[in-house]
Symmetry: C2
């Protein structure tokens, strides 16, 4: 009974168009200020402030002060996962959940972007395909796992590996790509790959968006390391 109440609390926090829009906007894993989120949701700052307080209370969103700004991000991978399930069941968006008004960045977003903490778009899907084709990773339905060979080769590249079956977050799982409608790689492995790609200068973020571009160096590295033919 108590569990039903907690469910209701969380669900109610998501169950309002303005808050749902905010959560969707946070799904790329970046943090946003209250004012930005107000604009995204199409409401006045005071209203947004109230909504955000409620999302924080429901532990779906975490907030952090930096000077006179307050940055909001999803509370964690579980929250992202939950919202992702909802989006999927909501019938995946026809357009890749729009960033309103910021102009026609759709092409760039479709090509490559971050999805919470891993890579998505054609780049993410292509990378996942290459990893499966190369025998690094196997996928079946909603399951994915590293092969033994993959584990060894990721290690050799200096990519920190999720230990097998640690209790919390799955090491490796497929995540349905909004724009491509095919799976890319999420979970701890997806996050590790993404941060490695940033760290090595394979990709750069397009300032102020969640789009990323592949550098020439990255294009080369992705082909050499994973056999990824075209990466944008």
């Amino acid at each position: 009974m108590v569990t039903a109440n907690r469910i209701a609390e969380m669900a109610a926090a998501m169950g309002e168009p303005a808050r749902a829009a905010m959560l969707a906007a946070l799904m790329d894993g970046r943090a946003m200020t209250a004012t930005e989120l107000a604009r995204v949701a199409g409401i006045a700052p005071p209203t947004a402030s109230g909504h955000l307080a409620r999302l924080v209370a429901a532990r779906l969103v975490a907030a952090e002060r930096h000077g006179r700004h307050r940055y909001h991000r999803l509370a964690g991978p579980e929250a992202a996962r939950l919202i992702e399930s909802m989006m999927q069941m909501a019938g995946a968006a026809p357009a890749p959940h729009a960033v309103p008004r910021f102009g026609p960045r759709d092409a760039a977003l479709r090509q490559a972007r971050t999805c919470y903490d891993h890579l998505a778009g054609r780049l993410g899907v292509g990378l996942a395909d290459a990893l499966v084709a190369g025998g690094w990773v196997a996928m079946e339905g909603e399951a994915a796992w590293m092969t033994e060979a993959g584990r060894a080769r990721f290690g050799a590249l200096g990519i920190p590996l999720p230990q097998a079956a640690r209790h919390g977050r799955p090491g490796c799982r497929p995540c349905l790509d909004w724009s491509e409608r095919r799976p890319h790689l999420a979970g701890r492995l997806g996050a590790a790959l993404c941060s490695h790609a940033f760290g090595q200068g394979w990709v750069h973020r397009v300032e102020g968006t969640r789009a990323v571009t592949v550098t020439p160096k990255g294009r080369l590295a992705l082909r050499e390391a994973f056999g990824l033919a075209e990466s944008g």
Copy 2:
């Protein structure tokens, strides 16, 4: 933007204690009448009727008339999956989400029950353990898959097998058991095993509950087929 609204609609449908309690009660996959659900949620029948209409509108619940009764069940595996995610994030229930007032059936429920369309409780967890130990199935984190050997042996037992990587539902996935706090087997394989167990007379449902008992025949068969030592 439209996607945020649909999310909000679904979430709002879940975001009310009475409705959340109803959904939780439906999580074993059986259908319940409106009056039963009213009692579960602790509200009057007219109120429940309104709630159920809303859940149906949100496509979380499906209803079906049988004579003067109207049976409600979860709309499908995706809905079950979604609610399960919420429960998990809600911090798995201390008690196995209670069937109120129907008396002290907890012991039986903990021992063996259905969870949506597959087996749960000590029986379900033990079966999953045995399948992993016997090399039928492998599990890692939130991923699970049939081994080649397992696929062949399930087929030999006459259990209809999910084809690899069909698009909709995952063939095989772990599902955190409420009472045991360890995974049992869900997905299409879990459902196939469960219906096989009922069909072969390995288990019987305890009338009017979601508890099941293992028959002597079932105990024998489970040991012989899967090496499951004690099955209640």
